[in-house]
Structure formats: structure tokens, C-alpha cells
């Protein structure tokens, strides 16, 4: 007798709990990627992102200043400084240290190590060191110091600066950004225009073979676009379109049309018949009905398809590679630019994380601006 209306079932809590768990699980990789995007390559390679949020004990190797920095004080050769002042080093508190890779915790902070002929080295808790010798220091590299230090969390915006400002050869990120917009916007508008007309005709105009035509369009939905890549490119080259914006717009339009027509037609069929018949009786032409009645009423469906198509063209790499990016290098898109930033052997992991968030920003804005239509539009045609 738990399920009396008005009373909350105890299951509600289980449901809420599992929703929270699922959402967290779902967001966890994104969160990791986000944290990683603020870390350097060496940090990523040495510890996991979950550890970077807290201060931690780390073993690091830092070099003292090179021998050419030595000073002569009271007949002693001295190299002084702070180990954490080196490039890329993260400040911390030294607990133990050593000078040999075989024994990295030979001395406690504050102790002096006697390295024989090489000199005497003292390292303090805050990383200050003093390296003293009776004879001149030689060599071209500074003494290695192995530190065991507790370091606080450290993040930087270096990756973002690198991704946003990198001018690599023929192309830069800002150019790629505008190129991507040049691809995405027409590739979203053109299919919507055509599909809206087609959907109206297929929904409300009587002509022979209409049902067959609808079945054909639905059938096209299952054709994978990869099948068409090379034949379509050959066709483009034969007709003289070649590789370029026109080609990629046409390709995106073609690949997007079946879904667009199907979605819009099902939505338009569900509009009240009376309105349209009234308009016909009042002497409206088909075009007037379409523009004045159908279009305003179908706005949710149009908007939701626009979001789909925009996201797809924004994130697309395959179609751009085949139909747009030619060997001149002037027409690169963002997805391609990001791949290029990864380097010849794909090792620049930190760039990948950062670039993902740079690239995601525009689709996120589009999504939040239009999301109220997305939910309504998703139901298009499914509920009458």
C-alpha cells in the first residue's frame, strides 16, 4: 500500500540516487579532460589528474645552476639559488634529497652533502641551495638534485595560449575557426530551406507517388555516407566544382537532407488539418500557406534540426577532408587544425585536452541558446 497517490514511494530515493551516480559517471571523463587541459605534458605523464587536485609528495629531478653561474666568495667557489626557480618547476617543501640516482633520499633537508672533489651541497626545506667548492666548478650542466618534495596543486593556462595563438605554417586557429563557420552555417541553412519545402509538399500536397517518395527518403536514411565519398568527389571534379566550399556545402546538404525531410515531414503532418483547409477555403495559395502558417508552426522542428546539423558539421572531419581540404592548405577547419597540433606522432596529449574544450565552446553556446526548442523538437512527429 505504498503507492497511494500523493505519497512518495521509497523507490524515489533510489531513482534520484542512481540518476546522480549515472550523471557523475557520465561527466567523469569530461572532468578529467578539463583538469588535464590545465596541466603540462610532464605533469600528465607523471601523475593522474585526480591526484593533481591535492598537494602530493613527488620525486623530482632538478638541476642546480650551471657552473658558469659560479661566484668567488672568500676564496670559495659558490653556486647559489633556489631549485624551484628553474623553468617548469613547481614550488614545494623538500623533505629528503640526494645527488645520486641510486640513493635519492640520502640527506634530510638542511643537511650538507660532501661530494668529495665535486664540492659540498646544502639544500633547505624551501629549495634554497648552496653548492661550495675549493676549486672551480667545471662542466656544462648543473649538478642533478633528486628531491622528494610535497608540492601544492599547480595549473597553468599555457596549453590554452598555445592552442589559441599557434601559427603553424599555413594555418592558424583563428583562420580555421572562420573556415569552420564558413562550412557550418551554409551547410545548416541550405538543407533546412530545401527540406522545409519538400516536407510541406510530402505532407500536405496530393500528387501521385507521394507515399513511394516518402518511403524512398526514409530508405536513404540508412545509406552510410562513406559509400558516397569517392564517387561524389569524382563527380565534383568532373563538373568542375573541385575541392572547395561549394563542394562541401553540397555534400553536407545531400547527407543531411534525408533526416531533415523525414523529421520535418512527420512534424508537419501532425499540424491541425483544419487550419490548412480553412486557409485553402479562404483562397490562400500553397506558397502562402507554407510561409504564413506552416513555417511559424514548425519552428521547434526546424530549430532542433538546425542544432543537429550544426553540431554535425561543426565536429565533422571526414567530409571536410574529402571535399574541402585541398593541397593548398588555405581551407583547413578546426577539427583538422586540432589534429595537426597533436604533432607528427600524436604525443601532445595535453593539447588534445585543451583543443577539445576550445572546439566545444561554440556548439555549447548554440546548444544553450536553442535547447528549449531541442526538447520540443525531439518529440516532433512522435506524439500526436
Amino acid at each position: 500500500m505504498d503507492n497511494i497517490a500523493g505519497q512518495k514511494s521509497s523507490l524515489t530515493w533510489a531513482v534520484h540516487f542512481s540518476v546522480v551516480v549515472l550523471v557523475l559517471l557520465w561527466l567523469l571523463p569530461t572532468l578529467g579532460l578539463f583538469v588535464s587541459s590545465f596541466r603540462s605534458a610532464d605533469q600528465i605523464a607523471s601523475t593522474g589528474w585526480w591526484k593533481s587536485l591535492f598537494s602530493q609528495e613527488q620525486n623530482v629531478v632538478i638541476r642546480a645552476e650551471k657552473p658558469d653561474q659560479q661566484k668567488l666568495l672568500d676564496e670559495l667557489y659558490v653556486i647559489e639559488g633556489n631549485l624551484f626557480a628553474q623553468d617548469g618547476a613547481v614550488e614545494g617543501d623538500v623533505s629528503v634529497w640526494g645527488t645520486s640516482s641510486k640513493d635519492i633520499s640520502a640527506y634530510a633537508a638542511g643537511e650538507t652533502a660532501d661530494l668529495g672533489e665535486k664540492g659540498r651541497l646544502t639544500v633547505e626545506v624551501n629549495g634554497d641551495y648552496r653548492f661550495v667548492n675549493d676549486t672551480e666548478f667545471t662542466g656544462s650542466r648543473g649538478q642533478r638534485v633528486f628531491l622528494t618534495a610535497t608540492t601544492p596543486p599547480s595549473f597553468s593556462l599555457t596549453n590554452y595560449k598555445h592552442v589559441l595563438s599557434k601559427e603553424s605554417g599555413t594555418s592558424s586557429m583563428s583562420k580555421a575557426f572562420f573556415n569552420t563557420l564558413t562550412v557550418s552555417i551554409p551547410s545548416t541553412i541550405i538543407p533546412i530551406l530545401i527540406a522545409a519545402f519538400a516536407a510541406y509538399a510530402l505532407a500536405w500536397m496530393d500528387f501521385p507517388g507521394r507515399a513511394l517518395l516518402i518511403a524512398f527518403v526514409v530508405g536513404l536514411l540508412v545509406v552510410p555516407l562513406q559509400l558516397a565519398l569517392i564517387p561524389l568527389l569524382k563527380l565534383h571534379l568532373q563538373v568542375g566544382i573541385g575541392k572547395g566550399y561549394l563542394g562541401v556545402w553540397l555534400a553536407h546538404t545531400g547527407f543531411g537532407l534525408p533526416l531533415a525531410i523525414y523529421l520535418l515531414r512527420n512534424y508537419m503532418v501532425g499540424l491541425p488539418k483544419d487550419i490548412i483547409e480553412n486557409a485553402r477555403v479562404d483562397g490562400a495559395t500553397e506558397f502562402q500557406i507554407f510561409v504564413k502558417i506552416i513555417l511559424p508552426l514548425s519552428f521547434p522542428a526546424l530549430a532542433s534540426f538546425a542544432i543537429f546539423q550544426f553540431l554535425w558539421t561543426w565536429n565533422d572531419l571526414l567530409v571536410a577532408l574529402v571535399f574541402l581540404i585541398d593541397s593548398s592548405g588555405d581551407t583547413t577547419v578546426m577539427t583538422r587544425q586540432i589534429v595537426e597540433l597533436l604533432g607528427s606522432r600524436g604525443g601532445n596529449w595535453e593539447i588534445l585536452a585543451t583543443a577539445a574544450f576550445v572546439s566545444i565552446s561554440v556548439p555549447l553556446c548554440v546548444f544553450f541558446a536553442m535547447q528549449k526548442y531541442l526538447v520540443r523538437g525531439l518529440l516532433a512527429g512522435s506524439v500526436k
Binding site: 645520486s100 640516482s101 599555413t170 597540433l341 597533436l342
Partner: protein, 427 residues
């Protein structure tokens, strides 16, 4: 001496006569390849010299999916003028389908005379065309040396180890390190979709050290089967390193799952996770930031067995230029690669080796690069990376996955038989 002078003079005349005098202003030459950031900037610097001399415009576009891209573009007829192939197998494939244009006459003679081990570079760039006739299509530029072992000299010094000069000594050293409580090797096979390739280099290197070069050549052509006892022995030789829990950082189980880009970092960790790392000449790109090659990190030649008397075999790889869309400028650009200046630009930047005998070795960025190039020029046997020469389904497919299986504990004979049957299926 007189002869070198003569060739030098002839070359100068050639350079002066054909490259600098040619006026190509207004012409655009498109080039695509797999070099991305860092390397892409350097190759553009090389092309800048060419642009200055001829007035032509060279546009380079790099792509990480170059192998697929060039196939699509050739197939559709929108190929760039020149493609820079990372391995000869793909170029041979395109040549046999009629997508490549033979290089100018005389190129073969020039390569034979001016590259160290010239004939082998000609052979590697010569493929059968559509009608089965052999022609020279590829000009090699930039070579990678694979038979190198990287180490940290300071860690060796701390522990009192010496650089080994023979395979026997290398194995003794490995045992010594284990006895001292350390781990000798860092091995990582992970590389995304190409996981397993570092192991193929190991097997090829070890095959060259246990068998004669003829066996290697026959194996690459599959005249000697993959499951031949000699090949299986080489795979097991690799297993002696990679499947030994004491030898490998993280244990044998970590070999297949460690990324090859991360594995060398173990040498520079505190305390060091391993002492040695066998990898090609490009690997310093993945050392921690600020590592200076020659001081913080150094390399030695992956030694051969002293008792086997097989000389000093060297395994390498290389990239080649081929013409995918013929034009006057494209031929001129390939010809420009004969000019030592084209090689010296990159030598000055680093991680570039060249078999060109006419270059000024003082232009190398570091002494270590110079000594690396010496290994290349002094090799008694130079062999190209076998997996790059095998058909794609094996060399970039079953060989990779087979080695991952082997590293994971599968029997060597079983793995070799599977690779052989995948090769048979391709015929």
C-alpha cells in the same frame, strides 16, 4: 680525392645549371605528407630555399591520416603534385595502380653515386608500374636510424655501468642491473591504432643480429616463411628482453599497454625506473622537457653479437618524395633535393639524418647527431624497416597485433604461424 673533386664540381654545375637557373615564377607546387608541427615547419624552411631560387610557390599540407588521404585524392584525381611517403610499401602500391610519375632520367645514377649505399636507396625507390615495368619513382630524403639504445649517462655513472659494445655485454649488463636491484629496460608498444610496431623493430633488429642479411631480405619478401625456425628464434630473442619480468619496467605485463611515447620517460624519473630504451633516432621528441641529447641523454649502437661475425647491421627507415601529379615544378623540386643545402637546413635543426655524402657534416646541430649519422654511413649492412616493406595487411596489421599477442604471453610459433596465414590470405 680527384674523383670526389670531380663529382663535387659536376654537382655544382648540375645545381647551378638546372635548379637555380630554372625560372618557375607563378607556378604553385602542392606537397602533402605526414609531417605535422615541428617537422612541418622545418620542411617549409627547406622549401623556402627552393622558392627563393626559382620563384615558385610551394604549399605543404601535413596530415596525420596521410596514408588514407593520398589514396582518396589519387583515386579521385585531386592529388597534390608531390607526396612525401613515410614508407615505401604505400608508394609501391600507388605506382602499381599508375598514380605515380617516374622521376627524371639520371636520378637513379645520381642517387647511386651520391648516397651512401646508393644502390639500396635506388632499389627502395624503384617499383613496378601498371604494366609491370620497373621505374624509379621515389627519392629518399630524411632517414631514421632504428638500431639505437638510449640511456642516461649520469645514471650509468652513478651506478658504475659501462656502455656495452657487444650483444653479450649488453645481456651481461642487463643481468648486472637486475642483480643491483634495478630494472634495465623500458619497453612500450602502445601507439593507438598502430600498437605493436615498436616490437617489430626489435624483432627486425634481432633478426639482423642472428641471421645473415640474405635471410632478412628473403623474409621481407616472404620467400622465407614467417614461421621459419630462424624467424621464430628472433621473436623469442625479443621475448628474452620483453617477457622477462625482471628486465622490463612495470613487468612484462606492462609492455603491451605502455605507450611508446611515455616509455622513455622512465629513464629520467626519480628514482630511475629503467636504464635503457631501444628506439629510433626520433625518440628525443618524447623525452621530458629540457632534456639535452648528448648530456642528459645519450645513445649507443644496439650492438651485434661478437661471436656471430655478422658485422654491424643497421636498421633504418626513411621518407621518400614521389610525384603524384606531374608538373615541371614538381620535377624541379625533387631535383632540388640533390642539393646539400636542402639537407643542411634540417641538419641544423636536429633529428635529421641523411645518406647524402656531399653534405657538410659540421652543419649538424649536435655532436650526437653527427655520430648518429656516422653509424648510418659506416654500417656494414643497412636494411630498411621490414614491416614497412611488407604488404600493408601484414607489416601494418597482423605483424603488429601478433607482437602484442606475443608480448601478452602467446607462444612465438603460434603467433608466427598466424601472421604467415594472414600473409598467405593476401596473395
Amino acid at each position: 680525392m680527384k674523383k670526389t673533386l670531380m663529382t663535387g664540381a659536376a654537382m655544382a654545375a648540375l645545381v647551378a645549371g638546372s635548379v637555380s637557373a630554372q625560372d618557375l615564377s607563378g607556378e604553385t607546387i602542392t606537397v602533402s605528407g605526414s609531417w605535422l608541427s615541428q617537422e612541418a615547419e622545418v620542411i617549409e624552411a627547406v622549401f623556402d630555399i627552393f622558392e627563393e631560387r626559382t620563384g615558385a610557390t610551394v604549399k605543404y599540407v601535413g596530415s596525420d591520416s596521410f596514408e588514407q588521404q593520398i589514396l582518396i585524392d589519387s583515386e579521385a584525381g585531386s592529388a597534390p603534385n608531390i607526396a612525401i611517403f613515410p614508407q615505401p610499401g604505400l608508394a609501391a602500391d600507388l605506382a602499381s595502380r599508375g598514380f605515380l610519375t617516374p622521376l627524371k632520367e639520371g636520378t637513379a645514377e645520381w642517387v647511386r653515386d651520391n648516397y651512401a649505399a646508393g644502390q639500396s636507396w635506388v632499389d627502395l625507390g624503384t617499383y613496378a608500374n601498371e604494366s609491370g615495368d620497373e621505374e624509379l619513382y621515389g627519392m629518399f630524403f630524411r632517414v631514421d636510424l632504428k638500431s639505437l639504445v638510449w640511456y642516461s649517462p649520469e645514471n650509468f655513472e652513478d651506478a658504475g655501468y659501462e656502455v656495452p659494445t657487444s650483444m653479450e655485454e649488453l645481456k651481461t649488463l642487463s643481468d648486472q642491473i637486475v642483480a643491483d636491484g634495478g630494472t634495465p629496460w623500458c619497453i612500450g608498444l602502445g601507439s593507438g591504432a598502430a600498437t605493436g610496431w615498436p616490437a617489430t623493430d626489435w624483432v627486425e633488429d634481432l633478426l639482423l643480429r642472428t641471421q645473415t642479411p640474405d635471410v632478412y631480405d628473403a623474409w621481407v619478401k616472404n620467400e622465407i616463411k614467417f614461421n621459419d625456425p630462424r624467424i621464430v628464434a628472433a621473436i623469442e630473442e625479443f621475448g628474452a628482453f620483453a617477457r622477462n619480468d625482471d628486465y622490463v619496467a612495470g613487468g612484462a605485463g606492462a609492455v603491451a599497454s605502455t605507450d611508446f611515447r611515455d616509455s622513455p620517460k622512465g629513464m629520467f624519473a626519480s628514482p630511475p625506473q629503467c636504464y635503457m630504451h631501444r628506439q629510433a633516432s626520433f625518440v628525443p621528441a618524447f623525452f621530458p622537457e629540457g632534456t639535452v641529447v648528448g648530456e642528459d641523454a645519450d645513445f649507443f649502437y644496439f650492438p651485434s653479437y661478437a661471436e656471430k661475425e655478422l658485422g654491424n647491421p643497421v636498421l633504418g627507415g626513411g621518407t621518400l618524395f614521389a610525384i603524384t601529379n606531374p608538373s615541371e615544378g614538381a620535377q624541379a623540386l625533387v631535383e632540388f633535393l640533390r642539393d646539400p643545402a636542402a639537407h643542411e637546413v634540417w641538419m641544423a635543426v636536429g633529428s635529421f639524418l641523411t645518406p647524402h655524402k656531399g653534405v657538410d657534416v659540421s652543419k649538424f646541430a649536435t655532436d650526437s647527431a653527427r655520430s648518429m649519422n656516422d653509424i648510418l654511413l659506416n654500417a656494414t649492412t643497412f636494411r630498411f624497416d621490414g614491416s614497412d616493406l611488407m604488404p600493408g595487411g601484414v607489416g601494418a596489421g597482423s605483424f603488429w597485433t601478433g607482437m602484442v599477442d606475443y608480448a601478452g604471453g602467446k607462444d612465438a610459433m603460434e603467433v608466427a604461424t598466424e601472421i604467415q596465414s594472414s600473409w598467405d590470405a593476401l596473395k
